[in-house]
Symmetry: C2
Subunit: 342 residues, 2 copies
């Protein structure tokens, strides 16, 4: 039976507030219209949501895994897919090369090994991934030009550079954040000059409005669509659009238990939040809550439903088979989280 309201849903159930989602997508598309935004599918892993981003004018997408690229192409969403990650596995790269016959696929490279692997699999388009301060992937800025030459010698088309300033997303204070982003992007700009190509890709939700003068021509943001409590701290103009609906299954002496646990929530940013309650701890299938001060939580009964707000949206989405689109308590639609896995 198709559920009509959230009261009909078995729990835990992933909810997406459709009005908030549309508002967030609209806000971002006004700031970064069209290809100025390359929405990151890793934040939602859902081709239906990507289809809505396409509706808002974005036809280029960022992916973190081969599975995301292959799934987006199979769903026919987007016409220019960037795998902003390094891949060595020949089978996966060959699968990407097959996708590239019909949809433009570009992959990040940051070493001779990744160049050789891409060329061997028959891929054509690459970006040079440049380290701009986050200790993760990316070639040192000074080596980017040399690496681009090597890629061209291997027969690859170098479309430009990318550099993710992930270490700056949560820097306190917008002015401080802007200054550090500018410094980081100067590294990318130097690399871009030496590499050539038309793409200078960087950024994320936390720095979405700090790139007016940094020289990048596309932003790789994803979390802005649905948000989480971690990004909420920055006071960005995006609202919480994703919740995990739970049922109160037990009420103890001074606490109550909702059936949303750490298998339904990305936990790397810490505990989730529930309005009106303090979260005591999460276990596999439970979160134990205490009524917050000044709350009406003491009126809660066994069987009531509560919305749990994840601390980190990306891994939370990856834990669910599907998401229920809601407007208030009305259930509008159900989307498959179809880009899970690798």
């Amino acid at each position: 039976m198709q559920p009509r309201t959230t009261f009909d849903l078995s729990t835990p159930a992933l909810l997406i507030d459709l009005d908030v989602l549309n508002k967030n997508l609209r806000t971002m598309s006004l700031h970064h219209p069209g290809t100025r935004l390359r929405p990151h599918t890793k934040a939602h892993k859902c081709t239906s949501l990507a289809q809505l981003q396409l509706h808002y004018g974005h036809k280029t997408f960022t992916c973190a895994t081969p599975r995301e690229v292959i799934g987006m192409a199979a769903a026919g969403v987007g016409e220019d897919l960037l795998l902003a990650n390094e891949v060595l596995n020949h089978d996966r790269l060959s699968a990407l090369a097959r996708v590239a016959r019909t949809t433009r696929v570009t992959i990040a490279v940051d070493s001779q090994n990744t160049i050789d692997a891409a060329a061997r699999a028959g891929l054509e388009d690459v970006l040079v991934d440049v380290n701009v301060g986050l200790p993760r992937c990316g070639v040192a800025p000074d080596d980017a030009g040399r690496l681009a030459e090597s890629a061209r010698r291997a027969g690859l088309t170098v479309r430009g550079v990318m550099g993710y300033e992930g270490h700056l997303m949560m820097v306190d204070g917008r002015d401080k954040r802007r200054q550090l982003v500018a410094e980081s992007m100067r590294l990318l700009a130097v690399a871009a000059r030496n590499v050539g190509g038309e793409i200078v890709s960087a950024g994320g939700t936390g720095t979405f409005d700090l790139h007016d003068d940094t020289g990048i021509n596309e932003l790789q943001a994803g979390s802005y669509a649905l948000m989480d409590t971690h990004y909420a701290r920055l006071g960005l103009p995006f609202e919480q659009g994703c919740f995990v609906l739970g049922t109160v299954i037990s009420i103890g002496e001074k606490w109550l238990v909702v059936d949303v646990g750490l298998k339904a929530l990305g936990m790397d940013h810490g505990n989730p939040s529930v309005a009106g309650f303090d979260v005591l701890f999460c276990s596999d299938e439970h979160t134990t809550l205490a009524p917050g001060k000044d709350s009406t939580a003491t009126k809660t009964s066994v069987g009531d439903k509560l919305r749990v707000v994840p601390a980190h949206i990306d891994p939370t989405m990856a834990m669910h088979d599907n998401a229920w689109l809601v407007r208030g308590e009305e259930v509008i639609d159900c989307w498959s989280i179809d880009l899970r896995g690798w």
Copy 2:
């Protein structure tokens, strides 16, 4: 193509060391033979692994979700399935009642609401879940007898009690842990006398050897089969049997990056471990490592494979579609993690 060795696997890939798994299952089955152990499927979510537990003599199982019960029954593994969790949703309870026509299904109750819901759905067998100190589910010990009477009035068969001393699993010092477990189980024993029935079910991997005199007649352990770095701290006689295989995809100035991130690892117990390296941080699809002191890690190259050891086994299993059974680097088999979800 069927992979022959771990070098053929695309990553991240969940590995189970078959010899270690067998050793862990054997060790536990010697300590708690037959129905003295009710293995918890939530720790592995895999009917093939449960089938091996059955081979070691355990034919009763514990589950945490309706999906686990339904999947175990569909696979024909086990003849007495306990859902050690409270469920209110009528559709899910009705599905469990359908399973109960062919496989014995018992569900935990800890309130009048959960009793009413079970009875309404046509379920027959329940255990009274007793709170033995962990602030989560379970009726207060003094109320257990009254609740059992109420369940019987509702037409349910009360098979006994369960009480999970989860707050004691990681208590430092075996003697201290033993003493606190004994105190906790005295609460369960009082409830058991008032409730009646034949089952007194409790315990977990961390307290598996502390129940000789506590009066319980079955232990609900799961993590012992595959282990994790969290439980490893206790010095139990179980070895690490599960790893997430990753590929080194990038090497930076003072670090290297493996393609196993927080979407492939349960993160609620903190960062994973990698032999010979210090884990700096995890992001969605990456873990950044620094060579440890006295390590040969500096010889690592892009393309090399590393084994990442999860800090928490249960949520890690729930993130993967399947697990590769290995002996050394040889790939023996592939098991579906078929009990994921709710």
